[in-house]
Point group: C2
Chain length 343, copies 2
């Protein structure tokens, strides 16, 4: 999927450097983040293991980039960025327990390497440290708004995960697992955390209410497009770039954008039957993937996915058109990073 | 265990009424607390089930009582009291998953009634709602201190639970599961949440730093005494009052105050051997309880427990001697409630 090219190569390189700097600053902050040395080791060893695990840092990078809309003091936003990255990792630790996932980013998950109790508790204490980091803004005039945005993000992401659990467990019929429910789920589970990341950056940089509102729309649409694309890459990406088995979502029985679209569009009885089987069976085998791809092919699901993701990316871009060139460049570069990714 | 009698009956009745009012106000606030009606039900049904489950509300009662040290406006402290009660319940939900406990307060635990994923996620979203409630103090001059006290409480209680897990899993020897480790564990797991409850009440009522410091000492000692007494009641309480099977802790292999004291005091080889067996076996059978009680009897563990708990209760009472009579009466009444309880 290719989308929005920045105008000149030099211009792109400067932005590239800026975003590398953002990532470097975030990684440095995380690397210098010190956990208590007196233990309990049961808690702080897995927490440290997570901090050492790396990651793309997309959310805190967005927080830093969002400061360009306001006073541009991105260094001030670093603490909140780390808090957001910890919140994101907390959701992964607990989600992996719920999904019984053994591997994350090529490493054992906490509950696999230790046990479930350690996984639950490590996630819990991470929330505490995230809120501690937000204490850095106690003298900021937007302190209570920053906190409220963060807490809203926490609640929304829990709601998203709950919708995901419900969605996964429900037997398919067009009434209860349609595209509407899919969009509600990914909005809460994925997009709201990006929205929060952008909003907090804006609040720290003293943005106006209108700017915050535009940042919100920007990140929300970006997040929805991002997730639709994520589902797309599971099936149409290149395995070495995506870093996981192609069709993994289908084997796990996930209600991806492609599945809900196919359920909506299918008319042939044999297609409908196979999609129903997919839902009631909660997934298919690797051998059955080619047949599912055939169904998708006949229903033009690949094109529907690309068009829909691009529609969200366009809405995202539209929402920031009144920003300064500097801010627009940074946010569009971020959008491009996500929209053009093959990983 | 009997401790500190208030001077006159009338005086006691007035305080009794005041504390009943506190409890009533807390229950009313919890009953009118509204969760989103749009779902996800996976999240809000178990949360509502918890809100409906009642409880002694000791922690928010302490928060309300602590306001008497300052401006006495206890109604202002209600939101924080509910936040603290939600935090306390969040720890119970997650602890019950870790301990695989099927029953709590005579009702099925969340993970038993639903499943583990629901238990993890319900606990998580509860933290979000607790922080939302603290947003009520965003215009309070002590807002950042209130939040910081709350977050510190969250971290400490996770650390306490982690020490408990480590403590339970370790094989006994005097070096690593002694009374010192026991005290560190219960301080974090039990006492720090009481400390936080008192401190937040004090902060909301605009107490001075000295008053906050005294409230801290009061609640911390009270919490330690409370836990030692809790361990005591498991073995020496009356079953119908305690509401659980006598000796349950011993069957579960908990390292109670009595166990760590006995390990410290035992000299006879057969006693030492049985205590080692208790630790390595992670508990004993109901039939073995009388023999453990014999050991305790010979080592005067019952008296040691009472004396130690009373020492902490006295330290608690001592720490508030400079408070006004009104505040002293309320906090001493609370102390008496806990110290004289048989439940």
């Amino acid at each position: 999927m290719s989308f929005i090219e920045t105008d000149t190569l030099t211009h792109k390189m400067i932005l590239q450097q800026k975003f590398e700097l953002y990532k470097q600053k975030i990684d440095d902050s995380i690397n210098t983040f010190r956990l208590p040395i007196g233990g309990p080791n049961t808690l702080y060893e897995p927490f440290q293991y997570l901090l050492d695990g790396g990651g793309k840092r997309l959310r805190p990078i967005l927080t830093l980039a969002a400061t360009s809309v306001g006073d541009g003091n991105y260094e001030e936003a670093l603490s909140s960025g780390i808090a957001i990255e910890i919140l994101h990792n907390f959701t992964l630790v607990h989600d992996d327990i719920m999904d019984k996932a053994p591997i994350r980013r090529g490493r054992e998950t906490i509950h696999s390497k230790w046990n479930e109790a350690v996984g639950v508790l490590t996630g819990d204490v991470m929330m505490g440290y995230a809120y501690k980091l937000l204490g850095a803004y106690s003298n900021h005039k937007n302190f209570s708004l920053i906190l409220d945005a963060f807490t809203t993000g926490l609640i929304e992401v829990c709601e998203g995960q709950a919708f995901d659990l419900e969605f996964h467990d429900s037997i398919s019929n067009n009434n209860n697992v349609g595209k509407k429910e899919y969009l509600k789920m990914i909005e809460k589970k994925t997009a709201k955390l990006l929205e929060m990341s952008a909003v907090i950056g804006g609040l720290i940089a003293n943005c106006t209410n209108e700017q915050i509102s535009s940042l919100r729309t920007f990140a929300l649409n970006l997040g929805i497009g991002f997730q639709i694309q994520d589902d797309y890459l599971d099936l149409y990406g290149e395995q070495e770039k995506v870093g996981k088995k192609i069709g993994k979502d289908l084997i796990e029985g996930k209600k991806t954008f492609q599945i809900v679209s196919a359920i909506e569009l299918a008319t042939k009885p044999e297609h409908k039957k196979f999609l129903e089987y997919y839902c009631s069976n909660k997934g298919i085998t690797e051998q059955e993937i080619p047949y599912m791809k055939e169904i998708f092919e006949e229903l033009s699901i690949e094109e529907v996915s690309i068009t829909t993701a691009e529609r969200y990316f366009t809405a995202s871009q539209e929402s920031i058109k009144l920003f300064s060139d500097k801010a627009k460049n940074e946010l569009e570069f971020f959008l491009t990073l996500l929209a053009n990714r093959a990983f």
